[in-house]
Amino acid sequence: MNYEFTLDELKEVIRTARVFCPSFGESQYRDLMTLGKRLTDSGYLEAVHLIVRLEREKGIPPARALDACDQLLAVKEQLEGELGDLKQKLAAQQNANREAERRFHQLNQDIEKARQELQTIRAERQREEKELLAFKKKAESQRQRIDEDVAQCRDKARVTEEQVATAGQLITEVESRGFTLTLLLDLCQEFAGHENAREELSRALIERHTLSNYIANLKEEGEIQKKALKLDSDRLKSEKDRSQAEVNSLEEARCQLQSALLQLQADAGEQEQLREFYRRYHGVSGLMECLASWEQIFFLRCNNPVSALAGVLNRSAGPARFWMDKPATRCPHCGLTMLIYDEEAYKVLNCSVGTPLRLQLGG
């Protein structure tokens, strides 16, 4: 922005200003312009600001600014000397702060680690508590199931709980008297078949005088009966072996007869085939004998295209086929020389086409 007025404009400015301030002159205007320019210089403003600040804050008038500045410089020098010590203290304090901060971080990390472990333990405890609870539930259900099974078993055995208790008492009583339940049951079984066991036992004692004699007599009778039973058993066993030998010989005879029957059936089939062959080929045996007398045989057919075309429409009008004992040059039917070997005949005989063939009959 150009704030400069022309000379005429400047005169007009001053003249107008004098309406309110008659003493206003060009010098004041110039001073204003100079002040305006200086105000654009930040250094000038800063210097003025500092002097004003010096006066306001320190109470030093601008006239004494330089002396105050010298004094302040001396103070500054002294303070700079102290500044070195303060810097060292600051560095030491900063190191201490860093160390404290490091310890603080370490402590925080330890706390965090402990907290995580505590959480893990808590989680594990909760898990085990759950497992224990589940185990208790399972045990309870199994106990109930066992109770039910026991009840079912009791129902099946048709015994009551009181009976079981009684049985237990009975076992205890038996064992207290020096017996076992097995022995007791054996004794019961022993005497069960005897309606009046006590009388039988007393009678036996009367007859045999002692229980040992009675038992020995029983053993002797038992040995006799055992021997008789063994003889019967041996006899039955020899009879069984003999019968088995007869069965085996009969089975062998049956197998021989069966194989003979199969052989006879095979012979009968072969004879039937021979009879069929004889009936089929006996009529042409003369022709076969005649052909066997030839030195060689050639199987030929005419390759006349007209006959081939006619053969498509009527099989009997097809090309002529014929057997020769010498290589032929003309068709005996149409007289053309368009002859070829009959591949079909050679293929039936399993020979290469055009090979001279000699028919050999069996003896």
Partner: protein
């Protein structure tokens, strides 16, 4: 009303430029229109604006074409400085209508732009002391005679009360926080060139009036320059003051004080 084809304005800024161009003050800043927009009473002008647009349309196209459009009111100021009674800045503002109109005739449609002045001119008298108070943000030195939501009447010592739109005063206060008087006046374009030295001089005089120690006229020397300056301070034009001093110069002596010299000059002018 000037009517030209096409849509030449789609925004308020473009309309302002068009209005300034039409008024021959194309170098004026749009900020001036924004400052003076409170001088325009859009409610009062609406009927006249519609009438003017209809008249312009009927003057160019067939009778009773249908139309619709958008229009703006742009204040176009004229700046002047007067020293009589009390030095003041005079802003005379005319309202320019800028309308962009779509016209539909029986067989065609047209877009036109209508530009022209409507309404009465509004005049603002801004005393220099009031302008200085706005610059110093010290309007409290003047008492308010009346105040409404839109206008305030201020009492100016030694002059008639002046009424300003509140919006104008508020905007001018904000402008002086960012701009100097010189920069503000330059927004008015070429017409500010003759006014600026007078306004600046007045404000400088007012500024130094408080700080300068007045020298009694009886102690000042009686030079022709001092005599002319004193007469100018008494609101005599420069040329007239010089002529008065020149005619009275045979009766003036070097040992006269300025007070004696002024009396001689005035007596001489009265005697003529």
């Amino acid at each position: 009303m000037k009517i030209s084809p096409g849509k030449r304005a789609v925004s308020s800024k473009q309309a302002t430029g068009l209005a300034f161009q039409d008024a021959g003050v194309g170098d004026m800043s749009a900020a001036v229109a924004d400052l003076l927009v409170s001088l325009v009473d859009a409610t009062k002008l609406r009927t006249e604006a519609e009438r003017s647009i209809v008249a312009a349309i009927r003057g160019k196209y067939a009778a009773k074409p249908t139309w619709h459009g958008k229009w703006w009111y742009v204040p176009v100021p004229t700046l002047s400085y007067e020293a009589r009674d009390i030095p003041h800045l005079k802003i005379e503002s005319k309202t320019c209508l800028v309308a962009v109109v779509e016209i539909e005739t029986t067989d065609d449609s047209h877009s036109v732009t209508i530009v022209g002045t409507i309404g009465k001119a509004e005049t603002l008298i801004v005393p220099m002391v009031f302008l200085q108070a706005i610059m110093d943000d010290d309007l409290g030195r003047f008492s308010m005679l009346s105040r409404s939501s839109s206008h305030t009447t201020w009492e100016i010592p030694g002059a008639k009360p002046v009424q300003f739109p509140n919006d104008f005063v508020n905007k001018l206060t904000e402008i002086f926080k960012r701009k100097s008087v010189w920069m503000w006046l330059s927004d008015f374009g070429r017409q500010s060139k003759s006014v600026t030295p007078l306004v600046v001089g007045s404000l400088l005089g007012l500024q130094f009036q408080a700080t300068a120690r007045p020298v009694p006229l009886a102690q000042q020397s009686c030079t022709p320059e001092n005599l002319v300056a004193t007469l100018e301070a008494m609101a005599y034009p420069t040329q007239e003051a010089r002529e008065m001093v020149r005619r009275a110069s045979p009766n003036l002596r070097a040992d006269h004080t300025l007070e004696e010299g002024v009396r001689i000059v005035l007596r001489h002018a009265k005697g003529e």
